[in-house]
């Protein structure tokens, strides 16, 4: 009896330690977001007077307004607004293209396997792990030759091309788990290649379509390397513009504007994460094929 009591006491202590650890780590993880938000809502004087982690004494959205429509990127003082639009114009077609192509590739590589299909998949798979530095120079030259240099369509093409590797992986791994008998049944029913894809396979793949779209959206929205390498000036995506705002060194550093700008760049992917976190995690762990 006494032993049981002390054991349950120990167990309770153990659970408190577990919860304690988890909560402390959670607070540390939330701290940067907290700091960003409160800083973006403070007037600059309050920041310079040494208020870092506390709530704003004076609540102001001036920094957000400045970041959105007034801050200078290079010599243009337009705020992030046009760059936000650039990113949208880049991300939407790139996501749609890469997801659509990935879906049909995954279908072929699982349900219509041809000799060498696994090799083709291997070729695509390595593309997921390509360090993009290795293709930066040729891509810049090629975009130049195609007349797409520095343009948003050029960026769409780049993101869609490399996105195919990921989306094909997603759809292939999803379709592998669909029984082959489903395609066989449809064949016996008289359906052909496209009919099976459209009427039988695609309607079952809503979850993986969501995973693919979210993953591609996050990757492309957050991309910096392609943006900074292949665009300049007013065609830049938002990450490049944000980096320009933050790295401006003239005058008194406007930390509140920096943080508001960072929040603006982060909000679309954060919203996606909050709304569809489950699918986001699935995309994340898909790279680890077995998990």
């Amino acid at each position: 009896m006494a032993e049981a009591l002390s054991r349950s006491g120990k167990a309770r202590l153990g659970r408190m330690v577990v919860y304690g650890c988890l909560i402390v780590v959670a607070l540390v993880y939330l701290m940067p977001l907290w700091v960003m938000v409160v800083t973006s809502l403070k007037p600059l004087d309050e920041i310079y007077s040494g208020s870092f982690i506390g709530l704003p004494k004076v609540l102001t959205f001036d920094a957000w307004r400045a970041a959105w429509s007034e801050a200078c990127i290079g010599t243009e003082c337009t705020g992030l607004k046009p760059y936000f639009v650039n990113s949208l114009l880049m991300v939407i077609p790139a996501v749609v293209l890469s997801t659509g192509i990935g879906a049909i590739n995954g279908y072929i590589l699982t349900k219509w396997k041809f000799p060498g299909a696994n090799f083709v998949f291997g070729l695509l798979l390595f593309g997921c792990f390509l360090p993009y530095q290795a293709i930066l120079i040729p891509m810049a030259r090629t975009l130049g030759l195609l007349g797409l240099a520095g343009s948003i369509p050029g960026l769409v093409a780049v993101h869609a091309s490399y996105g195919i590797c990921f989306t094909t992986l997603f759809f292939r791994n999803y379709f592998v788990s669909l029984p082959d008998e489903l395609t066989k049944a449809a064949m016996v029913d008289g359906a052909g290649f496209f009919r099976i894809f459209w009427s039988v396979i695609l309607p079952t793949s809503i979850p993986i379509i969501v995973v693919s779209c979210i993953w591609q959206f996050t990757q492309i929205w957050n991309d910096f390397l392609f943006g900074v390498s292949f665009t300049s000036g007013s065609n830049s995506p938002i990450t490049v513009a944000l980096n320009n705002i933050v790295n401006v060194t003239t005058g008194r550093k406007q930390y509140n504007v920096d943080m508001a700008a960072a929040m603006i760049a982060a909000i679309p992917t954060l919203v996606v994460y909050i709304v569809a976190g489950r699918y986001f995690v699935r995309g994340l762990t898909a790279g680890a094929v077995k998990g």
Binding site: P179, E181, L182, K184, A185, A186, M187, V188, D189, G190, A191, R195, S199, V200, P203, T204
Partner: protein, 366 residues
């Protein structure tokens, strides 16, 4: 004219030969069961009949027409799959209609066909549900409904009951048999379950390693298995295969079997052809005895052999008694309460049901 002719059909994946010159032909209304363990080539053969696998050699004819190069939809077949392969996003009605829609059958005709099939299978109340909302047995019925509306020359079933639990399996088995009787359809049915084969088939093809071991009606396959493999595969508990030496006296043979710690047992009165008698006199053979062909010896049964039971397993209707005979483990199916473990017993054997096999080739001796 036969409905299905499988004529010296071969299948190879590169060097690997999975079907070796298989020939089977069945007539209208036949229920052919392809029976064998996994990897025997039975599913491959079914897929070749369906047009889902290419044919390496030989010919398959359906209703006299060679179908080797026809796609599945042009073969006048319908198929029920092991996993049922219901389209998960479509309702039951849409599942059943899908093939008809592709064949551009008019709406009214489709509705009629769906109604007939769903009434027959008693799934009318499920037509607007999705497959995920159905039980295993209901899915099974939907899969059959999808096949029935095609009104094909040939129905193909690929292990359709193996995903069901034991109770439901028996019910659906009866259902399939009833359906076959009512619609008079021709069916090719793949299974590894010998009871399904026995209960459903009008013809059974027992397969192993891409070769048909025996083709015949189920009772013949059970009574006169072509070889030791078929003898062991069909029937549960399996046929006992006991090594013995054959002694010939006049027109009958006697099998002399070693019994542990006792004098050799003599199982006499086995009838055999003249050729068989001549060839195997004094030779080693394998004696096949079904468990139910043992009985407790009495005055009426004639000569008996004395054995010691090791284990006794009551099953309810019978009791299975296990003992050693000829150096192998042998099972007898006896009436309940007549056998007792670690007891001596005198058993009689129904010698008219005994089957002999060559000890080398393991094929039946006639």
């Amino acid at each position: 004219m036969s409905t299905l002719e499988i004529d010296r059909v071969r299948k190879a994946y590169g060097q690997l030969e999975v079907l070796k010159e298989v020939s089977i032909s069945i007539g209208t209304g036949d229920f052919l069961v392809l029976l064998g363990p996994s990897g025997c080539g039975k599913s491959t053969l079914l897929n070749m009949i369906a047009g889902l696998e290419t044919i390496t050699g030989g010919e398959i004819r359906i209703a006299g027409k060679t179908v080797n190069h026809l796609s599945p939809k042009d073969r006048d077949i319908a198929m029920v799959f092991q996993s049922y392969a219901l389209y998960p996003t479509m309702t039951v009605r849409q599942n059943i209609e899908f093939g008809m829609k592709i064949r551009r059958i008019a709406r009214a005709d489709r509705d009629k066909a769906v109604k007939t099939a769903s009434d027959l299978l008693q799934i009318t109340h499920l037509l607007n549900r999705k497959p995920s909302q159905l039980s295993g047995g209901q899915r099974q019925r939907v899969a059959m409904g999808r096949a029935i509306v095609r009104e094909p020359k040939l129905f193909l079933f690929d292990e359709p009951l193996s995903n069901l639990d034991a109770k439901l399996r028996v019910d659906m088995r009866t259902e399939i048999k009833r359906l076959h009787a009512r619609l008079g359809t021709t069916i090719v049915y793949v299974t590894h379950d010998q009871i399904e084969a026995m209960t459903l088939a009008t013809r059974v093809a027992v397969m192993k390693d891409g070769v048909v071991q025996q083709l015949g009606d189920p009772q013949a396959v059970y009574d006169r298995p072509a070889n030791v493999y078929v003898a062991r595969f069909v029937g549960s508990p399996a046929m006992n295969i006991v090594p013995a030496v054959l002694e010939v006296e006049g027109t009958t043979a006697t099998a002399v079997v070693d019994v542990a710690r006792r004098p050799a047992a003599r199982i006499g009165g086995i009838s055999l052809s003249v050729e068989g008698l001549r060839r195997y006199a004094g030779e080693k053979v394998l004696v096949g005895i079904r468990p139910e062909n043992f009985s407790i010896a009495s005055a009426a049964t004639g000569p008996s052999l004395t054995v010691d039971f090791d284990v006794v397993e009551p099953t309810g209707p019978d009791t299975l008694a296990v003992f050693q005979l000829g150096g192998v483990e042998v099972t007898a199916r006896l009436p309940p309460r007549q056998a007792h473990a670690r007891r001596e017993a005198a058993l009689a054997v129904d010698t008219t049901k005994i089957v002999l096999f060559d000890s080398e080739t393991e094929t039946r001796i006639d």
